[in-house]
Structure formats: structure tokens, C-alpha cells
Amino acid sequence: MAIVADKVTANPNVKVGEVILDVKDLKKHFPVRRGFFASLKGGPNPVLKAVDGVSFQIRKGEIYGVVGESGCGKTTMARTLLKLTEPTDGEMWFEGTDIAKLGHAETKVLRRHMQMVFQDPYESMNPRLNVSYIVSEPLRIQNVAKDVDEALPRVLQCLEDVEMTPVEEYIGRFPHELSGGQRQRIAVARALALDPSFIVADEPVSMLDVSIRGEVLNLMQNLCREKGVTFVYITHDLATARHICDRIAVMYLGRMVEEGTADDIVGDSLHPYTQALINAVFVPDPNKKQLGQVLKGEVPNPINPPKGCRLHPRCPKFMDGVCNVTEPELVEIKPGHRVACHLLKNN
């Protein structure tokens, strides 16, 4: 295990902007169970292609947003990046190691460098443990500290990092004694305990009130800027992604349809789906009425996605004979801006 540990130890020579995670053609398929009579018909069992061939690179010290509707595969992708679910196929190069191939014991070592913040701060914490136990748990699991007392200095440091001060006031509290925003900050502190270089945050603010979302989002931003922690921010809320992310990827039905800087995606989106998604995000301004400009229909069943471009049954710019025949590749339109749409190739 020691040898493996060396393989995934953070490289001190890595500079901001270098690629920290290089994902190539990542796939995660779930087998679908059929009933007894359906299975008599024979043929292969259907599979749900939650993530179906996604390639991207995440650079050190950035906040990378992944945006999409529910069911587009963004949470599955997040879990796969951390190996909480095993990928079906593809490569994930994290600081020189293809982590897609790592076994169980090696993955445990890997977790020192990659951590996760879960969506629901009400469910992701044991209600019977107090803050010091919750935050020190990763340290104890990884044998960095043998008990809570030994982990205490690090725990205090982490709580300070997430601005839970005065620290002494919070250290002995139980989750029910904290507000939603405070709980989510404890979740961030827990993720920070092992001093990872890479954190995946899966909808960290969707359960919080609007007035306190800023707390957690700004915290993520500060940690990223000051400590150089790389974040992947999974969300369905394009408005917050626009304000905190450096780059944003838009997913639809297990595929990435557009990727670019936050300004490119919001201000200069090229894919019809991204444009529809941006139009559907309401603006809190009563002078700008925008009801009525939405895509028809709903996300199709990912077990049997449409042929060709997956958006074509809903796309306002559908071209018969092109979009329903071949699936568009994600191509670079200009440096750092990739789009998967036939419309752009033809122009």
C-alpha cells in the first residue's frame, strides 16, 4: 500500500492552471433489471447510460461547474470521479495515476486527496456525533489520528478555515444544534480535514435558504483562491454557477453538450440546450418578463435515448437528416470553448 501511496501523493511542483484531473471517455452504465416475463423475450438486458462518454480536464485551483437538469447524470459523474461508484469504462488521470483502475485499498489512500461535500446537510451527518467527531472522522479512518483528542488541533484549524468561530462554541455541538448553513460548513470542514487538493461539491446549497447560500458559496470560493483547493461544483442552478465558477460544463442525458468559461457559457452560449437552460432561469426583475420561452417536452428516458443528437426531439433548431442520424462530437469552437452541435459545423 505504501508504494501506491507514493503514486497518488500530491506533486509539490504542480502549479495553478495545470491539469489536476484528466477524464477521458468516462462511462457509467447501470444494468436495468427486467421482470421474469420480459426476460423470456431474450436479447440483452437494457442498460441505463447515466454517464455516456464524457471527456474533460479540470485544472488546479479552479472551480469547475457541472450544470444540468435532474437525470442528466451530473451526480453520477460526481460520484464516479471519487470512485464512490465504479466507472464502467474510461480513464481518469489524477496527478499521474489512472484512478479508474485502482482497487479498494488504493482508493482509500486516494481519498486523502479527493473529498466530497454532499447535497443534504441534514442527512449526511450522524445526528449522534458532535462536531469534533464529525470533522475528525476522516482523520481517524485514514489513521492520521488515532482518536478525537489527537485530531483536535487539525479539527480546530478546519473549523477556523470554514469561519465557524469562536471554534470552542461549535466544537461540542450536535448537528441539530446547527442551522442548515452551519451544517453545510461543517460538511466542508470535514472534507478539508485531510487537506485534499480536490473536492467535489454535489449541490451543496440546494437545500439552503437563498439568504444563506452566499455563505457556503463564498467559502468555497475563498478556499479555492487562498488555499488552491480545486472544486467541482455540481448544480442545477446556472445563476450561482455563473457567479462562482471559472469554467462551466453543461450536461444533457449523460453527455456533455457545451463547456467553456463561465462568461462564454452564460454570455455567449452556442448550444441550443444551453441557451434554453439560460432562458429558463428566471431573473429577479419584474421589468423583464420571460415566461413562455421554453423548450417543449421533458428529458427523455436515458434507458432509450433518442438516436443522433440526444436533444433533437426538443430542439428548436432541429435539422432533419442530420441531427437525428449522427451524434455530434464535442468540438473546440474557440480556445477553451467546446460545443457538441451540428449547427456549428455547417456554418
Binding site: D209, R213, R242, D285, L291
Partner: protein
């Protein structure tokens, strides 16, 4: 005269530890065909407000005072029997939060809508069925699907079924409690577009309860901002969004990320909402307010017409806040 007039309505939940002051002397009006948005953080009493007006309170919810008048008729003193027969669903209905749970999973959706019609009106089954098919068509669901079960519909379609159910008896007012909170942005836009169309076509009055300021900005004429069981600012949507006068509203509007704005830090309001078992003395917002003075900590501000704007505001220091000054900086 407004169609619905709510005046000084007060509702407390009785608990073992005392009264939870969920709705505390709240007043507002709703004109025919208009939409009012009730906005606030979770736990500010906005859903309790809705259930109080429709008298769907749990057994520990007590209306302590105030009045609810519909076309001049007092509803608070009406007997439960009369309220059920004359008002609920016939004049005023509700779209519940989370359509996933508002529908019965073991009944066909058509039967569930028909049940609402048959329970309230003395019509034949065939007439009820015709109206049910018509309702499904109105909310944009293929009427042929009336004999399907809820699990065969997606979230957005289930929400439309719940809306159809609320419209079953041709009410004058519908109260929509977070109708789109559980839905995706795209589906949310579809459902709200459908609701807006129906409202215009049928001349419905609507009370929309949500924490999403953007949804209210897109659909409502008037807005009431609630904090700690009270309305702190009340006026037209344009006044409140563009020229807010209460410190809480200012913070809330700023905290709401606007995709159309320049890239900026996401704001937040420090602190957390008050515990309504023992709300703070004086102005309930004073522990979180950057402008709080001793007066704010002892004396409760009344909701009065703003001195610098058109809306009503409950703040002692409202007249001191210059327009355009960012007090949260």
C-alpha cells in the same frame, strides 16, 4: 373593495413549550384577477399563512384574532361546515407543495380530479368526467391519459394535475404553495407559463408562496415580504424589487443570484431566522440588521406607508436610508 381582505390575522401553534407565533397580525389584500407573491425564508410563516386563510390548520393551530373577508363576508367566524360547503375549493383552492406527495398513488388521476368535483358539487358523474377531461386539456395534459396512475407521469405533469385539481370547482382564488420548488428550471418555466395563461384566461386571483424571488418577479403584481411571521414590506413588485426600503428586503434581493448581472460575489445575510417560540423583542429582524438601534430592540415597527417610496414598510429607520445606498456593504 378587494376580493380577499386579510386584516391583522394572527395564528399561533400551541406546543408544549408555548406558542409558536407563526403568523402575527398579517394584513394584505388581493384584487380580482391579480397575483400576490408571499416571499420569505423557510420558517417565516408563509405556508402557515396559506393554511390559515384556507382553514386547513392542524389541531394545534389556533387563529388568535384578525379577520379574513371574501367579497365582504367574514370567513374566520364561519362554521367549519359552512366553510367546507361554500368556500373551500368552490371559491378558494390550493395547489400544494410537492405534487409527488399531493396525489394518491393508488388512484387514477382522472378519478382524483373527479372526486374533488363530486365532493363539492351536485353534478352527474358524466358531467364531472367531461369537466375533468376539459381541465386536463387546459393544463396541457393529453385528456386520453386520464385513466393513468401518478407514477406514469413526470414531476412537471404531476404538478399540472394538482393544478387541474385546484381548478376543479372554478374557484376565484388559488393559493399556490411553492408550486415549482421541486421541479427543474426548464419544467418550472413550463408549469409557470401554463399557470399564468390559465390565470389570465379565467380571471383568477392568485397567492403565490415561494422563497424564489425570481419566480415572483416573473408572475406577480404585488409582493409581500415576510420575516418571522410578519410582513415587513408590502407593495407592487416593481417598487419592491427595484427600490426596496426594508433592510431585510434589500439583503434578500441582493442575495438572489441574477444570471443576467455581471459576475460578482454571491451575497448572504449573516445570522439565521428567529425562533418563533420566543421571537426577539422589538423588530424581529434586529439581531441580523446592520442598522439596528436601541429603539429597534425594544419597540416593534408598524407596517406603514414608506416615506420615500410607494410601498408599505415596517422599519423604524426607513426614512434615514437614502435611495441607492447599499446598507449591506
Amino acid at each position: 373593495m378587494a376580493m380577499l381582505e386579510v386584516k391583522d390575522l394572527t395564528m399561533y401553534y400551541k406546543t408544549l413549550r408555548g406558542y409558536v407565533k407563526a403568523v402575527d397580525s398579517v394584513s394584505f389584500e388581493l384584487e380580482k384577477g391579480k397575483a400576490l407573491g408571499l416571499a420569505g425564508e423557510s420558517g417565516c410563516g408563509k405556508s402557515s399563512m396559506a393554511t390559515t386563510v384556507l382553514r386547513l390548520l392542524p389541531s394545534n393551530g389556533n387563529i388568535m384574532g384578525g379577520s379574513v373577508k371574501m367579497d365582504g363576508k367574514e370567513l374566520v367566524s364561519l362554521s367549519e361546515e359552512d366553510f367546507r360547503k361554500e368556500i373551500r375549493w368552490k371559491r378558494m383552492s390550493m395547489v400544494f407543495q410537492g405534487a409527488m406527495n399531493a396525489l394518491n398513488p393508488v388512484h387514477r388521476i382522472g378519478d382524483q380530479i373527479m372526486e374533488a368535483i363530486l365532493a363539492h358539487e351536485n353534478v352527474s358523474k358524466q358531467a364531472a368526467k367531461d369537466r375533468m377531461l376539459n381541465l386536463l386539456d387546459m393544463v396541457g395534459i393529453n385528456p386520453k391519459r386520464y385513466n393513468e396512475y401518478p407514477h406514469e407521469f413526470s414531476g412537471g405533469m404531476k404538478q399540472r394535475v394538482v393544478i387541474a385539481m385546484a381548478l376543479a370547482c372554478n374557484p376565484d382564488i388559488i393559493i399556490a404553495d411553492e408550486p415549482t420548488t421541486a421541479l427543474d428550471v426548464m419544467v418550472q418555466a413550463q408549469v409557470l407559463t401554463a399557470m399564468e395563461g390559465l390565470r389570465k384566461k379565467m380571471g383568477l386571483g392568485m397567492i403565490l408562496i415561494t422563497h424564489d424571488l425570481a419566480v415572483i418577479a416573473q408572475t406577480c403584481d404585488d409582493v409581500a415580504i415576510m420575516y418571522g411571521g410578519k410582513i415587513v414590506e408590502y407593495g407592487s413588485a416593481k417598487d419592491i424589487y427595484l427600490k426596496p426600503r426594508h433592510p431585510y428586503t434589500m439583503g434578500l434581493v441582493k442575495a438572489f443570484p441574477n444570471i443576467a448581472a455581471e459576475k460578482q460575489k454571491v451575497r448572504s445575510i449573516p445570522g439565521s431566522p428567529p425562533n418563533l417560540l420566543s421571537p426577539p423583542e422589538g423588530c424581529r429582524f434586529n439581531p441580523r440588521c446592520p442598522m439596528a438601534t436601541d429603539k429597534c430592540r425594544t419597540e416593534e415597527p408598524p407596517l406603514v406607508k414608506s416615506q420615500k417610496g410607494e410601498q408599505k414598510v415596517a422599519c423604524h429607520r426607513e426614512s434615514e436610508i437614502e435611495e441607492g445606498v447599499d446598507i449591506w456593504q
